[in-house]
């Protein structure tokens, strides 16, 4: 997956978890929780979806890397670089 594809994969997950939110205006450097309605259970959903969709295990100490879109991409892209974005 390219950086753009990783971003798209994260957006797909966020769209499922926060279906009432407009994802088109996400600013990558800003905290996700300041932009869309996400609470701690939603964050656990993100972790669960990464596990289900990509078999990626995010340890609790790394949750902070998922705070922004750019943080998510830089943390996940190395783990996903050899994977294909599901169509």
């Amino acid at each position: 997956m390219t950086v753009d594809e990783v971003r798209e994969a994260i957006l797909n997950i966020l769209s499922d978890i926060a279906p009432d939110e407009d994802m088109s205006s996400i600013r990558d450097e800003e905290n996700l929780r300041d932009q869309i309605d996400l609470d701690s259970m939603d964050f656990l959903d993100i972790v669960m979806e990464l596990r289900k969709r990509f078999n990626i295990e995010v340890p609790e100490k790394d949750y902070e890397h998922l705070a922004t879109m750019s943080g998510c991409v830089s943390y996940l892209q190395p783990l996903l670089k050899d994977r294909q974005l599901a169509s």
Binding site: D16, I17, A18, P19, D20, D37, M41, D45, M48, R51
Partner: protein, 416 residues
């Protein structure tokens, strides 16, 4: 005549929110009951394929965000829809109400089976690795979930809980609300019952194993209480919650009143896990009459529990016959013949379908009664077509459940 109870002890129904397989508000539901429209249809369930069920089609997104629906349960969505509709129907603006004085009392047959089955199925897709088990499982399956979802959605900070009482639960939600109002614990009760049971395959499979699951080539004819060819229960989802208020409060705000709760009773058979016991059922009916200060002849409409199991219907008929005899003048009907068995919702929902009779004088029938079982031949049974009667002063609902839990509710025409 001076009423024996003071206005702060008289409890009235001022709002009704409901979803049934054949209507998403009282008007639609009543029209279906008077026009013979069933709400039973084919339904897919996990592992068993096609079954038949009563399915509701209310719009969950009317009162919930998509995320709330995703995170919560079907029972929660049914409860929220009914609670919001009841408050709206009652003309209550919750913005002007002390929400710490509102109680939410939701009767349920069971809760958590749907969500647990879903999670077991989910991890079966991952070789039963429990790290894929959802963190939402606990909040979805705690017994107070349906009532709790109502409080989150409506920002109600008073007490909330469910009343687990098998298929007697709907009436018991109402009874609980009434008691809390009389005790002065709350000023407004959202009370009744709900069911999401059709979303668990287990309820169908268990009734089938008991030999108590209805089957018929035409789903709308499958639920046939009192008929010789009845062969079991049609499982259904549904919900009905009332706004209950003390008459003194309802009068202060000029509320419309559907009915006043006249009497109620709850007892236990202490007899069997699943088989009913007509002696205790009759005692429950008599106890409710006594509490209401009424004789059997005062009841104009008796809405029966009968679920169309071969034995259960006969047992209830024995109980009814022993209390009402042959000449009490009571008119008898059954709502499950239209919508199947809405389990925890049944008592409140079925009673609601009869409340308009206070105004229009029509008794809705029991349908699908083509060949009356002689053991179920009750005097006054209204079969297949509605019956117009002269006066409706009192309506009784019977709701009975597993472990021999019996609940009877009597409402009366409201006179200030």
């Amino acid at each position: 005549m001076v009423h024996p109870l003071s206005p702060d002890q008289r409890i009235v129904i001022t709002g009704i929110g409901l979803t049934a397989p054949n209507g998403n508000n009282l008007k639609e539901f009543r029209q279906s009951l008077l026009s013979g429209r069933s709400g039973v249809r084919p339904f897919e369930t996990r592992y068993m394929g096609k079954v038949i069920a009563g399915v509701c089609d209310f719009d969950e997104l009317l009162y919930q965000k998509r995320k709330e629906v995703r995170r919560g349960t079907r029972a929660g969505s049914v409860s929220i829809y009914c609670a919001q509709e009841a408050v709206r129907d009652a003309g209550i603006d919750l913005g002007g109400v002390d929400r710490s004085r509102v109680g939410v009392y939701v009767g349920v047959t069971e809760h958590g089976n749907v969500e647990t089955e879903n999670e077991v199925f989910n991890i079966s897709q991952y070789d039963y690795d429990t790290k894929f088990w959802s963190h939402h499982h606990n909040p979805r399956t705690v017994a107070n979930n349906p009532a709790g979802e109502v409080t989150l959605n409506m920002k109600i900070t008073g007490p909330h809980y469910t009343i687990g009482a098998a298929c007697a639960a709907g009436n018991m939600g109402v009874i609980q609300g009434l008691q809390m109002l009389r005790l002065g614990e709350v000023d407004l009760a959202l009370a009744g019952g709900v069911s999401e049971s059709i979303h668990t395959f287990g309820i169908f499979a268990s009734f089938k194993s008991e030999g108590a699951l209805a089957s018929h080539e035409d789903p709308t004819k499958a639920s046939r209480p009192f008929d010789r060819k009845r062969n079991g229960i049609v499982c259904s989802e549904g919900g009905c919650l009332y706004t209950l208020e003390r008459l003194s409060d309802a009068e202060k705000r000029g509320a419309k009143v559907y009915a006043e709760i006249a009497g109620y009773a709850i007892n236990s058979d202490a007899f069997d896990f699943i088989l009913p016991e007509p002696g205790r059922q009759a005692e429950c009916i008599r106890a409710a009459l006594k509490k209401a200060g009424l004789a059997p002849g005062d009841i104009d409409i008796l809405n029966t529990h009968a679920t169309a199991t071969p034995q259960g219907d006969i047992q209830e008929c024995k109980a009814v016959r022993s209390v009402f005899g042959e000449g009490s003048g009571v008119w008898i009907n059954n709502t499950k013949s239209f919508i199947g068995h809405t389990m925890g919702a049944a008592g409140t929902l079925e009673l609601s379908g009869n409340l308009p009779a206070f105004d229009d004088g029509w008794v809705h029938p029991t349908i699908n009664l083509d060949d009356l079982d002689p053991d179920c031949a009750l005097a006054g049974l209204v079969a297949n077509a509605p019956k117009k009667i002269d006066r409706v002063e009192h309506i009784m609902n019977n709701s009975f459940g597993m472990f021999g839990i019996n609940s009877v509710l009597i409402v009366k025409r409201f006179r200030g």
